[in-house]
Symmetry: C2
Subunit: 345 residues, 2 copies
């Protein structure tokens, strides 16, 4: 824990190279319009002094920070129990570093944190924000709109406010759900149940809609609300077995739910997939591959989602910088999903 010695400034480099500050600045920022011998001299001086630009001073005048906030609004600990979030973060990180941007992470716990985040974003510390807010009635999107920070959402936000300019990246939850259920139908199943996710999240709602698209007039008793957790899956599965003992398939809203359901099915003596076929969602590897039997599920490319979010945001910022309204504003993207067949269906 030692301090760095006084760091060299532009001035110092300029002195050493025998040029003006302006010239050093030009070289440091790309070197356009400076003749080769001078460029060389400056580079050498920079090297020798170990000069690193002071970002604060630079931001002060350019009003850019080359930093993006990633806001993860998850009151539940759920995000932390699965690699979903980490993978997305990784995609984001890759894309941001490729464009020399820093990643400022804001995790919020509970409602009171929202104000803090809003203040931070409004404070102009970052050039833009990537926000994960998958809950209905989340105040965050509103706060952000108010803060006036360019933003891309992860997952379709539920939002009653002004929808103009709202950009998001999402998986095709509805389509994926349809594929899952159609697969079960294709296996000859007809009493197909659905354990939903937490219905305060758009992804859960969309997956339910996808299920309904295929099971047009499904027995309503075949639908039970879960909460994306294994425990919820167990509870829901138990209820289903009571309600509809004749069911022959289950589409669970995610893999953790499916894992819980599988356990209850096993306890009840049903064979999977012979008696009851099971399909999950997410393809959360450590879970989907570990279940008994291994889980047929719907895969989404999570890392790509993250990367895409970052790309969209940065592109938007560029456009922003060049001139407002040049070219089309970036628009939302919905990524396709694929069914991964394993043993459970």
């Amino acid at each position: 824990m030692t301090d760095t010695a006084q760091r060299p400034t532009l001035e110092a480099v300029a002195a050493r190279a025998g040029v003006s500050r302006a010239t050093v600045s030009r070289v440091v920022n790309g070197g356009d319009g400076v003749r080769e011998p001078l460029v060389e001299r400056v580079r050498k001086a920079v090297e020798e002094l170990g000069y690193v630009p002071n970002q604060a001073a630079r931001s002060l005048v350019t009003r850019r920070h080359d930093a993006i906030a990633v806001v993860v609004a998850e009151p539940e600990t759920r995000v932390f129990a699965d690699p979903f979030f980490a993978l997305q973060l990784r995609g984001i990180s890759k894309e941001l570093t490729a464009h020399d941007n820093q990643l400022v992470l804001l995790l919020t716990e509970g409602r009171d944190d929202h104000a803090r985040v809003g203040r931070y974003l409004a404070g102009g510390h970052v050039d833009g924000a990537l926000v994960f807010s998958l809950h209905l009635d989340d105040p965050l999107p509103g706060l952000i709109q108010h803060a006036g920070v360019p933003t891309v959402f992860g997952g379709r936000p539920d939002w009653s406010g002004d929808r103009r300019g709202v950009v998001y990246v999402d998986s095709d939850n509805r389509g994926g759900a349809r594929d899952a259920v159609r697969h079960l139908v294709g296996l000859g199943r007809s009493r197909i149940a659905h354990i939903t996710g937490a219905l305060d999240q758009t992804s859960a709602v969309d997956r339910l809609d996808g299920y309904r698209d295929v099971m047009v007039d499904a027995d309503p008793r075949l639908i039970v609300e879960g909460d994306f957790t294994p425990a919820g899956g167990e509870r829901a599965m138990r209820e289903l077995l009571v309600r509809c003992p004749d069911l022959d398939a289950v589409f669970a809203a995610n893999d953790l739910t499916a894992a819980g359901a599988l356990r209850v099915l096993r306890e009840s003596g049903r064979r999977v997939p012979e008696d009851v076929a099971v399909v999950g969602f997410d393809d959360m590897l450590p879970v989907a591959e570990q279940t008994e039997p291994s889980l047929t599920t719907v895969r989404q490319d999570i890392e790509e989602m993250g990367r895409l979010m970052a790309r969209l945001l940065l592109r938007g910022l560029d456009r922003h910088a060049v001139e407002q309204g040049v070219g089309a504003a970036p628009s939302s993207v919905v990524l396709p999903t694929t069914l991964v067949r394993r043993a459970s269906a």
Copy 2:
């Protein structure tokens, strides 16, 4: 994606309140030494104009950023397959926001990224760094020492360089491993095998040492190298069954490894825990609770580790600011582990 209007400056607030910039600055930074009526006037002006201090300008003069870098150096994707990292991050985040610090996340992929991180840290963009570098021969600790940024490590770094002032927070891997193996001994097991983690990480080495502490002259064939993954666990378990068919217990270096081992044991017809007792490490919930049977394992308080890292760093920075050498430098902390008994042993 709209721009904020021109943001108000200190100057503007000062004008509105009819005071000088200096006074506004004083009020904004705590208001000491300013008389009440003035404080009130300034507060009102701040409110009305929606003034938010420009962090860049402030940093430029104070040389503080109120930002901490979190460096996650993990060439493998392993970190992302478990909630370990996310939990730690959460602990860190809580502690940092409690002290009004931002969290800048730096994820590195592969060796080339190290230079980038080193440059960033040396660039004085952050006040300190929290670094996860659990690999032997990692160049990162050296780079960081060189960058001269106050740093706390997550997990004991393996480091041949100057150890002075190296602060880390770690779990008691060795002690936890001892507890696990002792537990197995207590169950009357004597042919206790160990599937190690990736031995290029200090945690794996420490856990192996703990195993050896108890199994003083263990049959060397009972130790097989794994890599912290389920696949590695399967492979190692298969080998163990060939080498030592008489084994009656397995201590796996982590829960994922244990999950793989469990599967192979089941395939081979061994009953767990009757024939072979199994203990894992980490208490990675979605894994440990989902296995068949549920896993007895060693729990570490991961979130607390994160929080502690942040606290140690911030404390160090304070001391730094006040005056070098006042009070004891923060020193490393090793957190205790606890054995969680479930069904597998």
